[in-house]
């Protein structure tokens, strides 16, 4: 892109450099997911693979306001969450290859990405199980007088689990710095929200714990970013937990085994009109901040980086079978 644009102020006063950074991250995630799907078909990646296409704006927008000291508890649909948090594409790809250079040594796979440096506590594959863990992380930070916040991501499906209720109550009761981030993509596998909740307006539930909340257009990265900034400020200032509902949509199947009998092609197409990447590009173009060449550049950059990640994963090594029973217990004692 041309130098000039980077310092220009664009959409909603967000500077252009930042906008491009957001766009790049979203494009990167999209391409990463498509690549993952390809590699799944090529049998390089196995197990369950849950892709993030359509929801990129949520992770990318959300991570902007967090500092390295903040903690993240993610779900099994977490490639985008992990990438946006700054875990390297190579480490994630190697993980899905099952190589020991993976961010979880190849022990975790797609559903269990972890990173200590960025306080990324998984990659959790039991729906709802991250909620109490996030409450505990926030409790630890608070008891230690840290100013960190813990951001817990979960889907609309998790709202039905008892742990949702217990965790919101406990976080509110103890006034803990937790950001509850609900990625409401309207479906839990094949179960539409209306078949799992007697009241589909999730903010109603949250009110009943006296937890502050708002709902955000999860297809608009700037709206997400702005909402999260406010929520983080609220939580960091000690006012207690905050709940954000991101209204979003999953463009692909739930996992690689899903005939999608539960929704129509038309519905998917309708949502695709709100594609967070396309619409953002459109806005940036409208404002004359980028042009097709810029986009092509970004795409090529993403492509190249992802290819590097694949090369890294391919070149990775298998953990020796003799090490099978390592990491069941720690190898050192605590002090």
């Amino acid at each position: 892109m041309s130098e000039g644009k980077i310092i220009q102020k664009g959409v909603h006063g967000v500077d252009c450099e930042h906008a491009l950074c957001l766009l790049y991250q979203m494009m990167f995630i999209r391409r990463f997911e498509d690549k993952s799907a390809e590699l799944y078909s090529a049998m390089k990646i196995r197990g369950f693979l849950h892709l993030y296409n359509g929801e990129e704006a949520v992770a990318v927008g959300a991570m902007q306001a967090l500092t390295p000291e903040d903690a993240i508890v993610a779900t099994y649909r977490e490639h985008g969450q992990a990438l946006a948090r700054g875990i390297s594409a190579g480490a994630i790809m190697a993980e899905m290859y099952g190589k020991q250079e993976g961010c979880s040594r190849g022990r975790g796979g797609s559903m269990h990405l972890f990173d200590a440096k960025t306080r990324f506590y998984g990659g959790n594959a039991i729906v709802g199980c991250g909620l109490p863990v996030a409450v505990g992380l926030a409790l630890a930070d608070k008891m230690q007088g840290k100013k960190s916040v813990t951001c817990c991501l979960f889907g609309d499906g998790a709202v039905a689990e008892g742990e949702f209720h217990e965790s919101l109550n406990l976080a509110a009761l103890w006034n803990l710095p937790v950001l509850f981030f609900c990625e409401n993509n309207l479906y839990a596998m094949g179960t539409a929200l209306k078949y799992s909740q007697s009241v589909t307006d999730l903010s109603k539930k949250v009110e009943s714990y006296d937890v502050a909340s708002s709902s955000v257009d999860g297809m608009d990265v700037l709206a997400v970013e702005a909402a999260v900034k406010k929520a983080v400020e609220f939580v960091r200032s000690g006012k207690g937990p905050y709940f954000l509902e991101f209204r979003t949509y999953r463009f692909r199947a739930h996992s690689m085994f899903d005939p999608q009998l539960y929704r129509t092609k038309e519905e998917v197409e309708e949502w695709k009109k709100r594609d967070p990447i396309d619409t953002f590009i459109h806005r940036l173009k409208d404002q004359g901040l980028i042009n097709d060449t810029d986009i092509k550049e970004l795409e090529e950059k993403a492509e190249a980086e992802i290819n590097e990640a694949v090369v890294f994963a391919e070149a990775g090594t298998w953990e020796p079978v003799e090490d099978l029973t390592r990491f069941v217990y720690s190898e050192r004692r605590e002090v």
């Binding site: 196995r46 197990g47 369950f48 993980e95 099952g98 190589k99 979880s104 190849g106 022990r107 975790g108 796979g109 559903m111 269990h112 959790n124 594959a125 039991i126 729906v127 709802g128 199980c129 499906g157 998790a158 039905a160 689990e161 008892g162 839990a188 596998m189 094949g190 179960t191 539409a192 078949y195 799992s196 909740q197 085994f257 899903d258 005939p259 009998l261 539960y262 298998w318 953990e319 079978v321 099978l324 029973t325 990491f327 069941v328």
Partner: protein, 334 residues
Amino acid sequence: MNGEPQEVLKTTYREAVREAIRDAMRRDERVFLMGEDVGRYGGCFAVSKGLLEEFGPERIRDTPLSESTFVGAGIGAALGGMRPIVEIMTVNFSLLAADQILNTAATYLHMSGGLFNVPLVIRMATGGGKQLAAQHSHSLEGWFAHIPGIKVLTPATLEDARGMLWTALEDPDPVLIFENSTLYNMEGELPVDAGAVDINHARVCRQGNDITIITYGASLFKVLDAADILEKNGICAEVIDLRTLRPLDDATYLSSVAKTHRALIVDEGWRSGSISAEISARIMEGAFYELDCPVERICSAEVPMPYAKHLEQAALPQTETIVTTVKRMVGTNG
């Protein structure tokens, strides 16, 4: 049975389970199916595909993600005169309902002094081998078999996939059925009139004199493969499919051990405190003086399941290990 050839159908384990559900729903209007994604999605392993269309949403009930409550609701519905089949997607999620299973389903009859029985069937997929990693690969059927008050079935064959459900539904007490998810695609033949099967007895799947290999679930096929290889090596293994893990049919394996004088248990559960430990202990208690060498166990490694394929396969019991172990055991003289 007369000598005429029985009419058979090609089918899969998945279809056999589906047919069992369909059959039950048709026969008895008290039967209904409830669980996550059993309806509109068609079942996470496609077992219940088509049933919503056939029986409607009153009898094929998609539930919210609330394992404890829909299992508890199954208990209540059973108490209330229905015959619910509750599907927990996989055993991994059954832990969220562990309280209802152990503290409610298993205790109701007893704590009410015999007044209230719970004719509930819970089906769940179980097992590793699909690179689903540490939270999605448990084999906890043996662990659940610890609980008095419930029965635990582990259909390995098409016959059992087809037939155990009906017997379970006729049982007055809670029955847990564990379907190993690696078996759903298994193909084979079933008589057209296949129906209910006995659930009280283990099955000798292969006769032999040199050693008894006791197993259940997906491991059965690894054991049968091993037995084929062993046969070529002049070792004739008797293979027993336990079929039901609680209550255990002691007579079948004890009398086999009395014949072969050697026993190996193959079990996909973690070793410590596994159902294979129980069987070893019972052989100790019931056939000690018959043994020519110590009973051995091949179980899963005691590790939360790793994702990487080579590690996962190393964690699970394998045909090769069974072969080597048996060779060593049969080489041993007591």
